[in-house]
């Protein structure tokens, strides 16, 4: 269900087409507006913003807000800027994405090529877990992390993100492997290839596209997570989203809007880059996962 470039048979008149282009353009402006506001105001001195010039291009170009947001803005009690939190997020995202993707690939492989009694029920249980409101697990999770000695740590957050991400990665790999010819697997079995050998030699080499999807999906979701970060992170494991929120909501002192905007872009940059570089696969994967199911 990728977005093919095939066109419709619908024919439209010239005036209609002009109107369509106009509407599409207006909406493009609507979607660009917040990004424009963030970028333009992140390179302005503060008084240009407060003086009613939010929509104007900067008269004085300054990168000080960026420097400040990165390395010296007051976050919570420490004037550290967002940089330590950026690295906290990286340290949390990389292992969580890797582990959940590997587990998802193995689960998808078992659920499609080594079917057993009740495997649909098992898949149903895994699938429903994708959609629970996380509020229902917050209290026991806080207690469990405490019992495991992981409260307030990056490892604890990695565990949380793996647990609640593995449903989606399993879903992706299962849908992808479901259309993979089972005859190939049977043939390899007859030749004496075992469970892991078949996975390693036959399925894995053709899993590139779905692995990309799974990685992008997990990366975006975990990087952008706020609820788990706000609930379970300690002072030195807080992710970027939580730090950004602390920066923006700080009630003391002058509100430095330009620094807030620069910080917001810093927090958005990794996922935006991923989207721009690999967005095509992302959309294709979302379609495969949601429309086809």
């Amino acid at each position: 269900m990728s977005i093919a470039s095939q066109d419709t048979a619908i024919r439209t008149g010239r005036v209609t087409r002009m109107l369509i282009y106009l509407v599409l353009l207006l909406f493009a402006l609507f979607y660009m507006l917040p990004l424009y506001v963030m970028v333009v105001n992140s390179v302005k001195p503060l008084d240009e913003i407060t003086g009613g010039g939010m929509m104007n291009l900067p008269q004085v170009l300054t990168f000080e807000p960026w420097a400040k947001a990165w390395s010296s803005a007051q976050i919570g009690v420490e004037p550290t800027g967002l940089s330590p939190y950026f690295w906290n997020s990286i340290k949390m995202v990389v292992p969580a994405v890797a582990i959940s993707t590997v587990l998802g690939a193995l689960n998808g492989y078992v659920l499609t090529k080594w079917r057993f009694k009740y495997d649909t029920i098992v898949f149903g249980l895994i699938l429903f877990a994708c959609f629970i409101p996380f509020q229902i697990v917050l209290i026991p999770m806080a207690k469990m992390l405490g019992l495991m000695g992981l409260a307030g740590t990056t490892s604890g957050l990695v565990l949380v993100h793996v647990v609640y991400g593995v449903g989606f990665t399993t879903l992706y790999f299962r849908n992808y492997y479901a259309v993979f010819p089972t005859e190939l697997i049977r043939a390899a079995q007859i030749d004496g290839a075992g469970f892991f050998r078949i996975f390693w030699r036959i399925l894995l080499p053709s899993s590139g596209p779905i692995a990309v999807v799974s990685i992008i999906w997990q990366f975006t979701n975990i990087w952008n997570d706020f609820l788990f970060g706000a609930s379970f992170a300690g002072a030195d494991s807080q992710p970027m989203t939580v730090a950004l929120n602390n920066l923006v909501q700080a009630s003391h002192g002058v509100k430095e809007y330009n620094v807030h905007f620069a910080g917001a872009i810093l927090a958005a940059l990794p996922t935006l880059l991923v989207y721009i570089v690999a967005g095509r696969y992302f959309v294709r994967g979302l379609m495969a996962g949601s429309v086809k199911g």
Partner: protein
């Protein structure tokens, strides 16, 4: 003799291996999802306050919950928010997809612009809209500085209208994604039927109304399921955009649960509200997943 035993062990290992590989994930699910759900639901029947405690109080938390005006506000807001958010996203997504499906030049570029908000964190979205809608420095101030001195737009600070700013930001974030879902659906429709209908003199309007849109049923269903589930989970956007305010004007069940559990030390009531959220999502998801899984057998 030893050889056959060895081979036997190997075959048996091969039959067990798949289940063995699946078991860690399944165990995680059973404990961290289903075990935790049972624990939370159980807590909703106890007198837990700051910490979990196991004194059984029956339905007391639920009856307290439904008497709280704070919860009533959250539920009312949820209704308004979900209705508008799902409705507008679906309408906008479908319209934009239909427009974009007319052999548009630069389609790929436009699609990228419509979709990029999906990649952002709700905290980023919330921050951007928060200051853009702020009457002091945002739209209102800009319009006034451009000479329209009577221009007023203070919805974000106005308790009667603040919830609509949450709708606006949420629609901005997800409508492009809904557009992509409908576009994929449109591209899957057989052109031959359309050509035949055109031959019979059907107008474009009728083509869409009678033939194309009815065929998009699966896309409508997926969009509804995804959007309603996103709506119920909405938390970070409210935190970043309005902080639940002004006053409690934009509280949603998710923010209610968080503040009752973690800042007001009313864990029993928090657990009760989380249980209600779960039930709502389950009521939507279970029939959908059941139908999906049955189809595939």
């Amino acid at each position: 003799m030893a050889n056959t035993a060895n081979a036997d062990f190997k075959t048996r290992l091969q039959t067990w291996l798949p289940k063995l590989v699946l078991s860690p994930s399944l165990a995680l699910m059973l404990v961290f999802v289903y075990g935790f759900i049972i624990f939370s639901v159980y807590l909703s029947f106890t007198d837990s306050r700051l910490l979990p405690s196991f004194g059984w109080v029956g339905l007391e938390n639920y009856s307290k919950l439904w008497r709280l005006s704070h919860w009533e506000t959250s539920i009312m807001n949820m209704g308004v928010f979900a209705f508008l958010y799902i409705g507008i996203c679906t309408f906008l997504g479908l319209s934009l997809a239909i427009f974009l499906d007319q052999k548009i030049r630069g389609e790929g570029f436009i699609r990228t612009i419509y979709l990029y908000p999906m990649a952002l964190s709700f905290i980023v979205t919330g921050t951007a809209w928060k200051w853009f809608l702020d009457p002091g420095i945002g739209l209102e101030n800009v319009m006034q500085s451009w000479g329209w001195t009577s221009f007023e737009f203070d919805w974000i600070k106005n308790s009667d209208f603040a919830i609509y700013t949450v709708v606006l930001a949420a629609v901005w974030q997800t409508s492009g994604f809904v557009m992509a879902m409908f576009l994929a659906g449109l591209r899957g429709i057989d052109n031959e039927i359309l050509k035949a209908a055109q031959m019979d003199g059907a107008s474009n309007w009728n083509l869409y109304r009678r033939i194309i849109i009815p065929q998009l049923r699966p896309a409508f269903l997926s969009a509804f399921v995804i959007l309603s589930h996103l709506a119920i989970k909405t938390f970070d956007l409210v935190i970043a955009l309005t902080g639940g305010g002004p006053g409690r004007a934009t509280e949603l069940p998710a923010t209610f649960m968080y503040s009752y559990t973690f800042s007001r030390n009313q864990m029993g009531i928090g657990a009760a509200s989380a249980t209600i959220m779960l039930m709502t999502i389950a009521a939507i998801m279970i029939p959908y997943l059941y139908a999906e899984l049955r189809e595939k057998k």
